[in-house]
Amino acid sequence: MSWINLLAPVRLHIPDGFLSTTVSLVGWLLAVGAIGYALRQTRGQLGSRQIPLMGVLAAFIFAAQAINFPVAGGTSGHLLGGTLAAIVLGPWAAVLVMTAVIGVQALLFQDGGLLALGFNIVNMGVLTAFTGHFAFQLLKRILGEGRTSLLVGGALGAWVSVMAGAAATAVELAASGASPLGVALPAMAGVHALIGIGEALITVGALAFIYASRRDLLDLGARAPAKAAANWVIVGLGIALSVAVFSFAASPHPDGLERVAADAGFLGRALGPVYTLLPNYAIPGISNQVVSGVLAVVLGTLVVFGITWALARRQRRLGA
């Protein structure tokens, strides 16, 4: 398990220098759009409470990220917080809270770069808030209102949000020529599949605590505006994806990808034992390392979702 120790510091805060200037600017455009829309939405939702509530809760997320628990081999589980914020406050308010957290981390502690801040906000603020929110909504639709759907949806949302952030980071690094996608994606996704479990455990614990002591708070998130959100986020993801694909096509160094395919991914081999379900994090029979890496992430997410769904069905039948 020692490789986890080695890779654990590779978190999602991208420092300056790793993203190319073009990729960084695309990140800023996406972030500015999301923040501007979030400011208008939460203003309508919260009125004069907007500033004190968002500010104090941003300080809360920052402090909560320090609460950790030992997992194994010297690693610890801790919180990113996007999903928890999205469930308690609604997705747009969560975007603002996470933006403040990530911005202060960059400005005050050099945790993540200034030019890279745009994509750091998109990866850890916007993506985590919306994947968490959608997973939670989905479970609520399947299971109906209640404690089970809250906790199962929270766990699924938390895990998926960390994976989405990690996968997006890998794509951005690859589009910048800082790492071939065939290496970055399996490495980031593999490490964060475990980190995501810590995120899910803490999120569920926190939601259970809030549900037990102040259930009324959860109404705020449930009533938050999010309908218009879906389209915006899909448009944003579409832009990000097409830019990534475009930069691959236009990249002056398209060599990395083929080279990895030829070298048969040394990192994938080193990580081998972890992926007993999907050997080398690649699906046999598909030769292109990248395509099969992406497929593996999608498949992994579907498997987790399937298990969660089955558990949820069973819970409901027991409850009925």
């Binding site: 220098g17 907007q50 509530l53 402090a63 614990g205 080279r259």
Partner: protein, 262 residues
Amino acid sequence: MLHIDLADQYRRGSSRVHRLDPRVKLAGAVLFIVVASALPAGAWGAYGLLFAATLVVAALTGLGAGFALKRSFVALPFALAAISLPFTVAGRPLAQFGPLVVSVEGTVRFASILIKSWLSVQMAIVMTFTTAFPDLLWGLRALRLPPALVAIVSFMYRYLFVLADEALRLMRARASRSGAGAPGRRAGGSLWWRGKVAGGMVGNLTLRAFERSERIHASMTARGFQGEIRMLATPVLTDRDWNALVGWVTFLAMTALIGFVF
């Protein structure tokens, strides 16, 4: 990872860098980082000029030429994200370890990324250490960031230390209730149990933060707050600020030219 080391990084001083307008320092640092990022791989001469600039600016702050250097290794662990480049970029072979070939081009690109990242961090450190955070926020607002966003970040900064203290109290309470096992033996219950305890702490902190924000909002409303944070008129930049800005931009433009042409 643990930011509870929350001593503000700002160092009081009255150097020329300290006295610059926060807008100039922000724009200067961001421009520096943009130039560093845009430079092509392997532009060693330009990297050297930028490094010399960080040393000169650091010396001008009165905090010592090496102070930013000493603190600039925070981004280093992220280098792992690019560590495969020397092996995966095709090019002239430099060395061979079994089946892995290290290429010259890959090594140059990897080294360039590290140097750019390291230079950018140093300039960000100089800015943070010479500008009080409230001044930085004022500068951001004067540079037309949305006032609501700046107000949210100001509130966050105001209550950061309060909530970090609450988190520390929770962690101290957990530590004092948990027996530490013999070295090498794990303390506490199963992974699930430990996660649940940490989650309960976060949930507890959520409620405290929520209720605190309700009290703050009530007292703000009682004092006449209607949802807008007002700001005094922004002062104009002095000649000294303009000179610094023009000199800095000229230097960066020349560095970029050297980096792209040579």
